[in-house]
Symmetry: C2
Subunit: 540 residues, 2 copies
């Protein structure tokens, strides 16, 4: 323990030497720039006063916009002048048809999916959403609901000419009860703004994502966003207490309860959590928010084997117990890329595996003591070979950046094939090892990192350039491997456009068929976010 604390002290000096322009924001990997590409795409155009530039992710896999794997257009109506007149009357000044202004909502963040919508609607109220959907349903016009457009599976942009229904102007906070911690707001509230609002009231959102500066809470709910706090506060299926949803035909479903317990009939709101905008449009959310912890610590540890890393997880569950708020990992290949591409020095000695543990509690002295005892036990039992601790905010951010800037480091390494899978924790790393062996040197790098505590692996494979033969070697191998372990081929990103046809690797046919029945029941004309989430063979 003495050694580890000495090590920590020396690391603090190291961390202080880190270049001042490095962004140690937790969101840094996904939000390095606040300059909207929309402005870059549209030089010289005047910005529409009602359109706030969306903060965009950068540093993704750099793939070109393409429509590969896109199904044929379904026989929806096309927007006519009469339709636009109706929208302008319903949403005066908030019906956008300028192609330049539509550009940013037609392209997803990864720039791998592009639609050709000609109408962007920006309602402010639930009643307006209801009017729009009733009209579109009657007219058989397809609608793509869009929050912050930060999704990673092509689910948030139109595929063809679907009308884009943006929640951006539905950004009012309705109520916050500081006794119960229950917040109610419109769907278009930006996650980071909600976090700021709650921080002033000594609370926090139960979820935190890299995309928090752009993503909307309605989109978070619609995609069942996971993120960094799931280990501690659980999924949105537990923390979301109520939803208001507009159905495809314009009916408003008011399930906006602010109660922790309500066993009066079926829990309808659950249907819409994770349905990716294909079953209804979430217009308002009520959510249970925990108190903000007064004490946060982060430890960075090194392990010789993944088995030791898992044993350390077990030890931390017991000894850190109720204060553990994250248990993340990265492998030595990730560290190599962080060193090589971002010049981030390894804060400890070289190891095959690294762990990032965060604790959040209400008493700094207690948390420090628990951490000390845990680290002492982990060192004594030789589960970890080296480590360092941070308690100050800047140092915490610096340690977090070792985990969070991996995506960025990967973009410097080459074209990146990205996978987000859930596996039983014991098998979490085996997929990386097997993939390396399977690819036998054909890839530039094969790296593994992720949320050990949630059984969620991010497997990333780089090559000097886009390489169809490499892709053919990766897929369906990665999906078949995951399916053999009863894993999920999409842990937190959803299926969207890109993974819709892979659903059978993780879901049995009767289950997928039932999803189709639910879709047909709630949206019989299929106007809501078509071509997404459900596989093509369920349609038509």
């Amino acid at each position: 323990m003495v050694m580890i604390l000495q090590r920590a002290a020396s690391l603090r000096a190291v961390l202080q030497c880190l270049r001042p322009h490095c962004t140690f924001s937790r969101a840094a990997t996904l939000r390095l720039s606040t300059v909207s590409p929309c402005r870059e795409v549209l030089p010289g155009t005047s910005w529409h006063p009602g359109l706030t530039p969306r903060k965009l992710h950068t540093g993704a896999d750099g793939s070109k916009v393409s429509s590969a794997g896109v199904p044929a257009r379904l026989p929806f109506s096309t927007v006519t002048e009469e339709d636009v007149a109706f929208f302008r009357k319903t949403l005066p000044g908030r019906t956008i048809t300028d192609p330049d202004l539509l550009e940013s909502c037609n392209v997803d963040w990864l720039k791998s999916a592009r639609g050709s919508s000609e109408v962007l609607l920006r309602p402010q109220t639930t009643e307006e959403v209801s009017q729009i959907l009733r009209y579109c349903n009657d007219r058989n016009l397809a609608v793509n609901t869009q929050g912050g457009n930060t999704g990673l599976v092509g689910g948030s942009v139109p595929v063809y000419d679907e009308i884009v229904l943006s929640t951006a102007l539905m950004n009012k906070i309705h109520t916050f009860n500081s006794t119960s911690g229950i917040l109610t707001c419109q769907a278009g509230c930006i996650l980071e703004e909600l976090s700021g609002f709650l921080e002033e009231r000594d609370h926090m959102m139960p979820l935190d994502l890299g995309a928090k500066g752009s993503c909307h809470i309605g989109g978070n709910v619609a995609t069942n966003a996971g993120g960094l706090r799931l280990l501690r506060y659980g999924s949105l299926h537990g923390t979301v207490l109520g939803l208001e949803v507009v159905l495809a035909d314009g009916r408003v479903l008011d399930c906006l309860s602010t109660l922790r317990k309500d066993n009066t009939g079926y829990d309808l709101k659950q249907l819409f959590i994770g349905s990716e905008g294909t079953l209804g449009v979430v217009t308002a959310v009520s959510i249970l928010c925990p108190r903000r912890p007064s004490s946060v610590n982060v430890v960075f540890l090194g392990c010789e084997t993944f088995e030791q890393l898992l044993k350390t997880f077990g030890l931390s569950r017991g000894m850190l117990g109720e204060i553990m708020s994250a248990y993340e990992f990265l492998d030595s290949e990730c560290m190599r890329l962080l060193n090589a591409h971002l010049k981030l020095p390894n804060p400890i000695s070289d190891c095959p595996f690294y762990i990032v543990i965060e604790t959040s509690g209400s008493d700094a002295a207690h948390d420090g003591e628990k951490l000390h005892n845990f680290l002492d036990a982990a060192m004594t039992s030789s589960l970890v070979t080296d480590g360092t601790v941070a308690t100050e905010e800047s140092k915490i951010k610096a340690l977090w950046s070792m985990r969070e800037r991996i995506t960025e480091a990967l973009t410097h390494d080459g074209y990146t094939y990205k996978y987000d899978v859930s596996l039983p924790v014991e098998q979490l790393y085996q997929l990386v090892t097997d993939m390396r062996e399977h690819l036998a040197g054909r890839a530039k790098s094969v790296v593994g990192y992720g949320h050990v505590g949630d059984g969620n692996l991010h497997l990333n494979i780089t090559s000097p350039a886009k390489d169809p033969s490499l892709l053919a070697a990766i897929e369906p191998f990665v999906y078949e491997w995951t399916a053999k372990c009863s894993g999920s081929i999409s842990a937190e990103h959803g299926l969207g456009l890109r993974k819709r046809n892979y659903i059978y690797y993780s879901k049995a046919r009767p289950a997928v068929a039932l999803m189709g029945d639910i879709k047909a029941m709630l949206d019989p004309k299929g106007i809501l976010n078509p071509y997404k989430t459900l596989p093509d063979n369920l349609r038509g």
Copy 2:
């Protein structure tokens, strides 16, 4: 603080004097006897070797079995000799038709609902359940799935001659992963037995109920059981990771995932959590189990006003933070009944309101210090006027009994009208005050207690005997009052038979209509647990 600790010391002496035959089990209010009334009901009958006597609740409101408010029998087929022959062939030795043996599964625990089923089926496997339902659906035979038969709204027993499908023999534990804390088991596992299994593995179930000695995990899931740990570990919508469900037509829906994250399509399992057996038969469950806390403390405090009680809740959320596992309350009327009928002495001085706080943590010294600091702050700011602390298990149980034996005390007070509502915390007690004023002395006692942390009030009203005019004064007043506050008329008990037609007080018509659509989609013939959960006007 000195005062409070002195008071605590003296209380320990008081508690030690409590009569040794008092049962200080947390489950005491609901399970005072292990003698099964089935044996009492059936003197001289030989017990079927396959039928384990069910531990039953006692001390409920004592109301007679009645069929008041029961809708007309729907046109299901009646069981024929050919049907029984099929069942005997499918479930040899596990098809029960002896009326004596059927008695206990035809009557609910409150003895307020009685059916007249003539067939009890006891499958052991999912395949058997599938065969039974396929057959029953083809034959248009109604089926009532039954777990521990511990429900409080008449949902767990047949209304007419529905076939009883018991999960009692589906009691195998499939797997437990001590690294992730994920348990997978059949639906008929008894909650207390799962708790015992996990205790040996340093874990615990995320839910705890008074009925734990009898209730089945499948029934818990089907009714979305709340209970004592919800404040800390959240609802089953968050902790249940997977379900296997047999649909009305015999299709097996395998959603038995053991993953914390899985965003591949709609989360179908959520539909069945809280659907009270009306949408499918839960046959297996996978659930996330927390580590067992090594340190548990209970405090019993007194407050002058409900406002102070709520402020104390706010203080405890901040100062006890991550270790708080329960925040319960009772009023002075509850204390009067505990004193008068059960001779339980008040452990502190008389106050209008009492609070029971439980902490659960991983470090006894830390938890004790947090508790000390919290109590010091609560006393210094005059939020609480008196209090005592228990750290030993027997003393903890004694303090818990002040909260948990209220139901028992009520049965000694007279005929009890029981209500279980969710309300915004600020209005939680106003309903009790308003009800007292509204009844203007017509009731013997009007008492309030419950789960403050969850916004869940148990309002109980007693009279010397059953009193239709008193009931007419209580209802619909209590439901209308709850609806005005956007509360829930059933926080954790569900709707079952008894409250099905009150659903509109808590759910909007479009929501109820959609529930009907879901029922029609999954169970078009309506054979699963008919007459329950959904209102009569949705049928036929």
